[in-house]
Subunit: 252 residues, 2 copies
């Protein structure tokens, strides 16, 4: 790609949109400038452009995103059949398990939630479609990484910041690669409080009719209610059942 095939004004604007999120609902020009490391004048122009287009509100001091911004992510969710296809199965899964069920795909070193059926049970983590978690320490991430050729999985780990989130978090690349082999062989991954104390989850791949992994689904539960040792016997059958139901529905 040539230098002139890049619209930096567009790239800068997208960066500004991403500066929201992370619990930051309202941003002043100066705050957005710091977060994006862009010049205040530039950020101001981007924000005013967003406001002019109706993607943001401006009260003279703070900018707030409007629901119109959802059109952008929705362009993906609507255009990709997968999320809509998975949703009812997640609802079923969630109801059957009495716990939250989610679906995600891999994007670089992170998993991205594309659909979710939550339960009333309050979890400290607030996940919605579009939420991201590091792949190496999430059950769906393990499943998705295990589906990659091993050198690619290693490359992702090399790019990942392997952080020790809890005392249980596994951060050794060789250890993780070995776990990927086990996941591939046994068809599921369990995370026991590696992401957050008190949170366990179990995931299986969603495969199309050719056996290619196109996403992952999981069930998450509080460790206090469901010990990691019980995750497999309680939820794996449900997940496998959903997996089998989905396979023939996924053509390509």
């Amino acid at each position: 790609m040539r230098e002139t095939d890049f619209v930096s004004g567009f790239a800068r604007g997208l960066k500004v949109i991403e500066a929201f999120g992370e619990t930051r609902q309202r941003l002043s020009i100066a705050e957005a400038s710091k977060l994006t490391e862009l010049d205040r004048a530039t950020v101001r122009r981007s924000l005013l452009t967003l406001a002019e287009l109706g993607y943001a509100d401006y009260d003279g001091k703070f900018f707030t995103l409007t629901p119109k911004i959802l059109r952008l992510g929705h362009a993906y969710l609507a255009a990709t059949p997968l999320p809509a296809l998975l949703q009812p199965h997640l609802d079923h899964l969630s109801e059957g398990a009495g716990q939250s069920a989610s679906a995600s795909v891999l994007d670089g070193t992170e998993i991205v939630y594309i659909a979710r059926a939550s339960q009333r049970r309050v979890m400290s983590i607030n996940l919605t479609p579009g939420s991201r978690l590091p792949a190496y320490c999430a059950s769906m991430g393990r499943v998705l990484l295990a589906a990659l050729p091993e050198n690619e999985a290693r490359a992702v780990l090399a790019r990942s910041e392997l952080k020790q989130n809890t005392p249980k978090t596994r951060t050794d690349p060789e250890d993780l690669v070995a776990e990927f082999r086990r996941v591939r062989a046994e068809g599921y991954a369990i995370i026991d409080q590696e992401l957050e104390i008190g949170l366990c989850s179990i995931a299986v791949p969603v495969e199309n009719d050719r056996g290619e992994t196109v996403a992952a689904i999981n069930i998450g539960a509080p460790a206090a209610l469901v010990p990691a040792a019980e995750m497999k016997e309680r939820y794996l059958p449900l997940l496998k059942e959903t997996q089998a139901t989905l396979r023939p529905l996924l053509r390509r």
Copy 2:
């Protein structure tokens, strides 16, 4: 706002992102150019920028959005507490009713889904967070419009394309304004196949502790299973219960 406070390259890029969606998963440069009415060279630069940033894939012929694009809409969903707060209540509602439950807010002449709990039952409409429907003929839209001062509601109607979706669709502004009054007085709105034949729904406002309407929630059902006349007795109590549960949770 001065002329130079607008970054047209950014605005053009956002338009290109929105060209996806509408069931269009893959777009060539020429297709995107037609949809956006932008010059091919411009669209090409925007698409290559998206690809360079990882928001799109390019196989040399077609561009496809990647899950990374969800970061943009997620910036709103994560920053706004409302969707996450409502989700578990929608799940509860959906489970209790055995039908899909949704929450939305008003954006101009349209309602935007911010959370949803769907049921296995297959509906022709595929709704996800970010989906949009015309407000005048949706149950949540009626509720949200009824919450506006009457002159504002009239202004929205004036800007709306009041389309006759089905023989049952009400399109007369005066008739609609009268219905808004009834909705305000009785606290709920029912749509009987005005949006689509075979689809009924009932909605109530979600109010904060000051009584201001901040969103709407609804339950939708196939007319074949639940006649419009039964919607009220079957689902209104559930909706009211949820409404009452939510009110004290919504501070401001």
